[in-house]
Symmetry: C2
Subunit: 239 residues, 2 copies
């Protein structure tokens, strides 16, 4: 079933290897996006890719590592785009401080581009990413933690300049809320049934979705710092 290598010269090993590896990667990405990590079996992936079951473990070591490879292939370029875009915004602003909206757009735009540039799957990859971001599996959390570390650090300093009044730890929390809301929104296309008034046209339009999320998050970021014990007080009042 596997294609026989036609050209044996000029790195024939690499060529044949990349072909099989890429086919597994493509099939895995599509199936992971559709069914999620746990519900997608290696047998389904390798069958769809037209390769042997053991080939997946040979090239990627395990199902978990295959999943990480699927994510890295698109996540790494996207986060680099985010940092580059932020840097270009800062350069264009000269000495001026960037607004929260502008910084947020540096996070959103590369995600939107990713959703569009890829004719196939691109729209759904963000959902896969959002689900992964909320996945309880430690190997996923650790992997994403490592992947996002540099980008988050870069954006935190940008937000710190835009929000000088905000305490450092408060900003860390709010960045956490931002990342959570973003990933959750991207992941939760079908949770909208919970909210009702569900409009399929809107839900499929990531641009419209993010254009609603952006002002929500910007306002949250710019809110005054927490007054200590405010919830505690409410808790006491309610008995």
């Amino acid at each position: 079933m596997s294609p026989t290598p036609q050209v044996k010269r000029l790195q024939p090993v690499d060529v044949s290897a990349q072909t099989t590896k890429t086919r597994i990667l493509d099939a895995a990405e599509e199936l992971f996006m559709e069914h999620g990590f746990e519900a997608t079996s290696l047998r389904l992936i390798t069958t769809a890719a037209g390769v042997n079951l053991a080939a997946a473990n040979y090239h990627f070591g395990s199902k978990e590592e295959l999943f990480q490879a699927v994510l890295t292939r698109r996540l790494d370029p996207m986060n680099r785009q985010r940092m580059d875009l932020l840097e270009s915004f800062e350069a264009a602003a000269g000495g001026h401080t960037l607004s929260c909206d502008k910084i947020l757009s540096a996070m959103f735009i590369p995600a939107l581009k990713l959703a569009r540039d890829k004719e196939t799957g691109g729209q759904n990859f963000l959902r896969l990413l959002g689900r992964a971001y909320a996945d309880p599996a430690p190997f996923i959390r650790d992997f994403l933690s490592q992947q996002y570390h540099e980008m988050i650090a870069r954006f935190r300093t940008a937000f710190a300049k835009a929000l000088p009044h905000l305490p450092k730890d408060e900003l860390s929390w709010r960045l956490h809320f931002v990342m959570g809301a973003l990933s959750y929104t991207l992941a939760g296309s079908d949770v909208l049934k919970m909210i009702a008034q569900y409009q399929p046209d809107e839900a499929d339009n990531d641009e419209l979705l993010l254009s609603r999320l952006a002002p929500f998050l910007a306002a949250g970021l710019m809110a005054p710092a927490t007054t200590s014990g405010s919830v505690h007080q409410m808790f006491q009042e309610a008995g």
Copy 2:
């Protein structure tokens, strides 16, 4: 290994059934909280409960239904408390409109109570709930959608009064963001490594966590409505 029924009279069937059923439920809750749904096997649960593997399927039908039973036992009372608290706030306010903070506290306080009232597991149940809220499995999404429907509808009308300027569909989106940020925050205790400056004391303190989330969400809810195409414009500018 299973306890032999000592009293055969007075509904012996129900007594023995509830005992086994409860033991499975308790063991399942603890293990689901610790390892998540997929990573927890029925064999582990039934072994911990000291019952036979088949007993779980007999009493609950499937692993999925067992999981739903675990969630329902605590979720149903919590959502009822939320609605009751909101109603008492409205009654206390007379004809006055409730503030967003007040409405949000009606959502948060029952969650905090749940986290505390139960000596065992209570602190971690909210994390299990948050993870379930973001789980891609359809049976979980459908279940929670049904569980939350009444409460969400109730709170939407409350927010609609507090935010009369906000279009209906915009409010629906923001409620979605609120629920997402809340559940994600409760679920993501260990994602904080991503943000760094991690302080274990704070992360374990749900009250402090929610006291930081509340003003963030309130500000987002009260933000001016989306100007159509704002993100689209930014997207064009960035090329």
